[in-house]
Amino acid sequence: MTPALLVSGDPVALGRATIVVVAIVVVKALLAFGMLMTAVALMIWFERKLISDMQNRVGPNRAGPFGLLQTMADGIKLMFKEDLLPEGADRATFRLAPFLSTVPAFLSFAIVPVGGVVHLFGYTTELQVADPPIGILFLLAMSGVAVYGLMLAGWSSGSKYPLLGSVRASAQMVSYEAAMGLSVAAVVLVTGSLSTRAIVQAQAAHIWDWNLVRLAVIPFVIFLAAATAELNRPPFDLVEGDSELVGGFNTEYSSMRFGLFYLAEFMSTITMSAVIVTLFLGGPDGPVIHLPLLNWLMPIGWFFLKTLAFLFFYVWLRAALPRLRYDQLMDLGWKVLIPAALGWLIVIAGFRVGRVTGLVTFAVAIVVGAGMARAFAVGQVRNRDPATSSSTSGDFR
């Protein structure tokens, strides 16, 4: 992929790179970064406040009005703490790892369309940092890179628990990435384009055109579950597992390096919520009043509102669900989500060909699915009872 292709949606690549164009791109990037950082600070506050509400507590209320400045206070505290480097650590990797998880979290936000189109100084620009033609693949690539952040952080710490945490992390993220990719494939299949802008525009006509409805909810649910696992958020937070792994991959980290992991976690939560909104809920789509300022502010408002709903949902998940066991996590990923995503993708493809083909594939998918479910159940029972099992793997359960 040449760089020119990467940003072909932007005026820079179209050979009209004047100083104003460059300035617009720079301003957009800075604006997105600033907004995301502010959003992270507010998200941490929001999560702590909401979860305390759900647990009948008060939550942070000392720093600033309603404790709004709590994140700032924590950040300042973290910055002034001693930056420890464990003796057994691989120094360069140890220093690199926090950035490897923070940078992808930010970069994947770059492809999210926040609003419609704005006309500035005679130039027309889309309200998103970049609209590469590889679009949504970029998101998958970035979440792939983020695995390195966790993996290397745990490995380079030169300590056992972080290593265990990072092994869990990479196994979990790799397995759920497959399900995630397959549900994204369903979206791409009906849109016919990888570009996030095109995906959003394809959903813009009516609420029935939202991929949530169009793909009959299942890819959405799969993506939501896979994204939650990808984010290592509860109930899939085995990576951190504070009660099992003393905090997981970031145990040996302190000071701002720890802060970066924390930042990355919340940043990717926001980014992932924004991506879900983009893929399944029409992004900035919503009823708009056609007045000079409102007609480009309102889509942004809709986008924020939808994203906020998902952020609320993520906090809610954390309050409501206990952490999964590791084998449950793997079972859900490999035995439920991946087959379901794959089957549904084929069914959707069938319906794209024609109604009859669709119904036939649907029937086949159900039969195959039922067969697989039975096979898994039998395997489960055999594993549980070593006497009927030919392998010794049952002993590890």
Binding site: D53, M54, Q55, N56, R57, V58, N61, W316, A319, A320
Partner: protein
């Protein structure tokens, strides 16, 4: 068991958002302390200003944490400190060790040592942890002396004298309603505490336990309102 059981947690957690909180903003507002709360000690004096401590060291002997150090001395004939033969010449309590069990108060034969309700005293110097007699003995008004690092609040120095224990009948019906102790400097002789023979009505007292207060704010359908 039903299909929707896993979703019950979502319903419950969402409902909690609108439930009232029982948390009180602690350093700003403090709950009233129970009448027999164990806080920092005071050494009481009689109404005429004499010290009650006779230097018998029973408190030091009974102390399970070994935090009290007492040395008695003969009262100087021309200026006696206590009414008896001897007085507490040295009296020190190490608050890094004290567990506020109140056994010293139980042991004291003259009601000299009692506990106030002040428990917020965080010193920055370990030497401040050892309270000497000058800091423990009540002042000329019978009030506990306030140290700069102590956080005294309204009502913390009420009911600090020996009155509390001295008027409790210890379960003996015959002793009920009779004050068995001498007057205190600043407080005089107070009416004796009510005995246990006739129980006070349940809701007469204001200081319910935290659990009961918390429960009273939870709707009944959620298992609240225990009192």
């Amino acid at each position: 068991m039903g299909m929707l059981d896993p979703l019950k947690g979502f319903k419950l957690t969402f409902k909690q958002i609108f439930e009232p909180r029982v948390t009180s903003p602690y350093p700003v507002r403090k709950r009233p302390k129970p009448a027999r709360f164990h806080g920092r000690h005071v050494l009481n004096r009689y109404e005429d200003g004499m010290e009650k401590c006779i230097g018998c060291e029973l408190c030091a002997g009974v102390c399970p944490a070994d935090c009290i150090y007492v040395r008695g001395a003969d009262n100087p004939a021309d200026a006696p400190v206590s009414p008896g033969e001897r007085y507490g010449f040295v009296y020190e309590i190490n608050y890094l060790r004290c567990i506020h069990c109140d056994l010293c108060v139980e042991a004291c034969p003259t009601g000299a040592i009692t506990e106030s309700k002040m428990f917020e005293f965080s010193f920055t110097d370990r030497n401040d942890a050892i309270y000497t007699k000058a800091e423990l003995v009540v002042d000329d008004d019978g009030e506990p002396r306030h140290q700069p690092w102590e956080d005294w609040r309204e009502g913390d120095d009420a009911l600090t004298s020996g009155w509390m224990r001295a008027t409790s009948p210890s379960g003996m019906a015959a002793a009920e309603g009779r004050a068995q102790w001498s007057a205190d400097l600043g407080y005089g002789r107070r009416a004796p505490e009510k005995g246990q023979s006739d129980l006070p009505e349940a809701d007469a007292t204001e200081d319910l336990s935290v659990r009961k207060v918390a429960a009273s704010k939870i709707p009944r359908r959620l298992g609240g309102r225990v009192r």
